[in-house]
Subunit: 345 residues, 2 copies
């Protein structure tokens, strides 16, 4: 099929540093090409891809020295998509909702993956109005605040099979990876590790908005011989940092629409102990790839029993459910359904 | 003609308090109805109009307690316009550029008045791309940074004829009206008045962003018997505040695309002394409705000679050039041109 992928312009595809959506669009694009599809990627000009790139702006917006206006550049991108739309069988949008008035009146079928939280109240009237545009969620849990729109499917994010190596023999520590922010509950992770007398290593960045929380809550907890704070780490270091851990601790306190780090751990063969909010019950198989807990008592108990989890089962769960080829095949099936229903109509 | 006016949603039409664009859309809408046109107004639901109102959101965005997302609500509005577009002869947008991908492919002809500054670098690629959409400037000077797009005309803003009364007999003071910000140069206005030994009354608001400038530069200048600061005033008080002044001082330091306060003064019969930046030479007739100056020496000289200006000539200039019926007639002529060229095409 001739497929257009429309990425946000905030980061390049793939992103230089952080950037969840653009990273997933990258994995999807390359995996669709592996499946033999002809993919056109609308993205910033500093993107690197095997797809045909339509470079909308020379460099991604977030680190662009000219501080470009995001609405202007996404509006321009939208019109480039519209100009070329007849040359695609299907158009896949990843840019929230700015495109809806245009997409709804385009002859080429299109769908939108919503990558973020959906509890913004304004989304209710928005999708009551645009109630016929096909939407894809990244977890079933993500849909909870927005039951009414035209959900086509849930497609979980996928990572390339060779991004992380299987680590069969862990070392004696638990890992925490993420941002230092109240809802990520790094404090709980430290408490769990200390209750088991197990070292914990924390790889996390501290955003300016969370500086006070960091200084008042987390920093005082680091002054313990079992606690090591390594700061922010890149994709390269993540492989061994997560892979060598006995478990990844994800005691999050909010309904995260998709916990990418959980799938990263599974790719390494590292089991995960996570609180059962949001997408967690969809990502983890309780007792098979880790433990789903609901309080600190359960969490410590789970941490004590982590040796019961077969690390190979974690890797197998990743390969079966969260690998990029699986994600690409799921999307390709949706695209085909849309193209065929168009031909029938 | 059946005319759609598409207003920003930040303020109601007319605005409760501040809000330049929505105020002008209000004057235009009502004046077009006076000319016998059938007008539909897309705006926030708390707008008050004789037009058919399409209420996009219950209340205007800026003071809305739910802190709504502007892109979502303007996107929704855009789709309402598109759904109804076949019922209009012409669509007039006042919402910057979000509508361009939709408007360019609508069968109904449309035009856009750009109300703001055009020196944002991103506007160059935007209007190189959308180079066929008809644009209206609010002054010729406004166009300077953006020479290439499809400028259809300049239409100056107009005020209702009865909004301000002609004040034939002024009192002994100069007036300054505006924001306290470095580019408005309230300091220059004070210096001009004091050099003439004339009282000056200042009606101005201080935004949070300008607090330091206010405290360091302007506040220390107010401690003089000839200087009176009255704070922010509403439309009702403006009539006598400006109308009773011997002159309005507008020693601005930046190329304002349209100086609405200059036309307010002329409506009162009050002459204006202004620096010749931006739209000023288009709004003032030097020596007839005030004086255009280029330094403080000229400004003080002009202030000394302000008695030479015939206040009736100021009011006449307003009625001839800056009255709402004049603005409406200019736009109606543009609409007709667009409708006729569509019929021919």
């Amino acid at each position: 099929m001739r497929i257009a992928q429309v990425a946000p312009l905030y980061e390049s595809v793939p992103p230089r540093l952080y950037g969840g959506t653009e990273r997933v669009v990258h994995y999807l694009t390359e995996a669709l090409i592996d499946l033999g599809h002809e993919v056109t990627l609308f993205a910033s000009g500093d993107s690197r891809t095997r797809a045909r790139l339509v470079p909308v702006i020379d460099r991604a917006l977030r680190l662009h020295p000219g501080r470009p206006d995001p609405v202007i550049w996404h509006t321009l991108m939208l019109d480039r998509v519209r100009e070329l739309c007849d040359s695609f069988d299907v158009i896949h949008f990843h840019i929230d909702w700015l495109h809806l008035p245009v997409a709804m009146r385009c002859r080429t079928p299109s769908l939108t993956t919503l990558h973020g939280r959906l509890d913004l109240p304004d989304l209710q009237p928005l999708f009551r109005h645009f109630n016929r545009h096909p939407l894809v969620s990244i977890s079933d849990a993500q849909r909870a605040p927005l039951p009414q729109p035209n959900w086509l499917a849930t497609v979980h994010h996928g990572l390339p099979l060779d991004l992380y190596d299987f680590h069969p023999e862990p070392q004696d520590y638990f890992a925490f990876v993420g941002r230092i922010s109240p809802e990520k509950r790094c404090d709980r992770a430290i408490d769990i590790a200390l209750a088991c007398n197990m070292p914990i290593r924390i790889a996390a960045k501290v955003d300016a908005a969370d500086k006070q929380y960091w200084e008042e809550v987390i920093e005082p907890m680091l002054d313990h011989p079992l606690v090591t704070f390594v700061g922010e780490i890149g994709d390269g270091d993540k492989n061994d940092f997560i892979g060598n851990a006995r478990a990844l601790l994800a005691p999050v306190d909010w309904p995260e629409p998709f916990g990418l780090v959980i799938t990263e751990a599974l790719a390494c063969g590292t089991p995960v102990i996570a609180y059962g909010h949001g997408s967690v019950p969809e990502l983890l198989e309780d007792g098979v790839t880790g433990f789903i807990v609901h309080d600190q008592h359960q969490a410590v108990g789970a941490a004590m029993r982590i040796g019961e989890i077969d690390r190979r089962a974690c890797r197998e769960s990743f390969e079966r459910r969260f690998a990029a080829p699986v994600m690409a095949a799921s999307y390709a099936a949706l695209y085909r359904r849309m193209v065929e229903s168009r031909v029938e109509a």
